[in-house]
Symmetry: C2
Subunit: 200 residues, 2 copies
DNA sequence: ACCTGAACACCGTTCAAGT
DNA sequence: ACCTGAACACCGTTCAAGT
């Protein structure tokens, strides 16, 4: 008779993985701690040891989401090449993440602005905006982007790309593909903020 | 002893009003049909006569939301004046609606793209996009906007404004006011798509 | 330290029965 | 037609008790 089916190696991670899977498959609202516990083959009270309540689990999920998104954006920003290319790469990555993790993205933004969001979560939420600000400030100093408050331009760029992401996940693209929509937004932004090529 | 505390004038409307109030105050997830029934002083099974299930009530709420939003946008679009002014007015109205009805807007977009959303809901969701397309097509025929697929430009404009709305409700404006963010997005969009003034 | 099992106060949904 | 009250199968959360 094998013993110890009863405490698990790393219940916290197991629960997070299971939770992410069910959020992806059926949305946040159908995520039940008791169901999760059943899937993890653990008593329904066990998750409480690792997450104070349902919200704490959701917060942890959202935090992981922001961390993954930020890593992807930072990687795309870190490539070399002309500003337009790097900007387009970041936008594409952002929208791809949104499409592939639609429910998670919704959770990330929903949970971030709840009154008592953790510092780590708020900080992670701000981080992607800062990637955009730095990219634009840097491009300005290279003469690739018109002068002007980089925070203001980054806000508009971020809003625009995030908007495409939301419309994409909401099935509101009305005939355009995700790539077409992203490219269109990037084209419009670049035509507004890119400095004219001095070699032209 | 007064009789008839027991069937109500218009329970459906009463429930919708109460539901909207609690969604506004405490979010969708804390909306309970039983609680609603208690507030309406009706048995917990009574709401089922008017809404098949919780989702049906949420759908009805979302539909009302789109209708109000679309009315506001159509009104702003119907004013006369130069394209830039009208466009800015619509954007401002959209973002104001989003800020004043943050939870409702979230519900609207969440519910719209659930697999079995009602036709009325999907149609209402598309309508605001069409207002944008028409505005831009009209401005192009007047020579106020550069030529190009009006649906593509409207998509970008819509995404941009919706993005500002989402960032605003998500407390991600980082030091900018809602008005500043909206104006910045409109400025950038106009500088990309507005035709140069022929009188200049 | 980590988990269990029972208990409590909620849910949404359904359905026979009442008016 | 519209509502009630009871019932069913779920929840999240807490807590004494076990190992």
């Amino acid at each position: 008779m094998p013993t110890a089916t009863y405490h698990r190696e790393n219940l916290r991670e197991t629960l997070l993985e299971l939770a992410e899977r069910t959020v992806r498959r059926s949305g946040v609202e159908s995520l039940s701690l008791r169901e999760l516990a059943r899937e993890a083959k653990v008593s329904h009270a066990a998750p409480a040891r690792h997450f104070r309540d349902r919200r704490a689990l959701l917060d942890a999920l959202a935090l992981e989401g922001f961390q993954r998104l930020n890593r992807a954006m930072a990687d795309a920003a870190a490539t070399s090449g002309p500003f337009g290319t790097r900007f387009r790469a970041i936008a594409t990555d952002y929208v791809s993440f949104a499409v592939e993790n639609a429910a998670l993205l919704g959770l990330m933004y929903a949970v971030k602005h709840e009154a008592d969001a953790s510092d780590a979560l708020v900080e992670a939420g701000r981080r992607s905006m800062r990637v955009a600000v730095e990219l634009i400030a840097e491009a300005q100093s290279e003469g690739d982007v018109l002068p002007g408050d980089p925070e203001r331009l980054a806000l508009v760029a971020f809003a625009s790309v995030h908007g495409v992401a939301v419309l994409a996940t909401g099935d509101l693209l009305e005939g355009f593909s995700v790539e077409q929509a992203t490219d269109a937004a990037v084209d419009v932004l670049l035509s507004a903020i890119a400095a004219p090529d001095p070699r032209a």
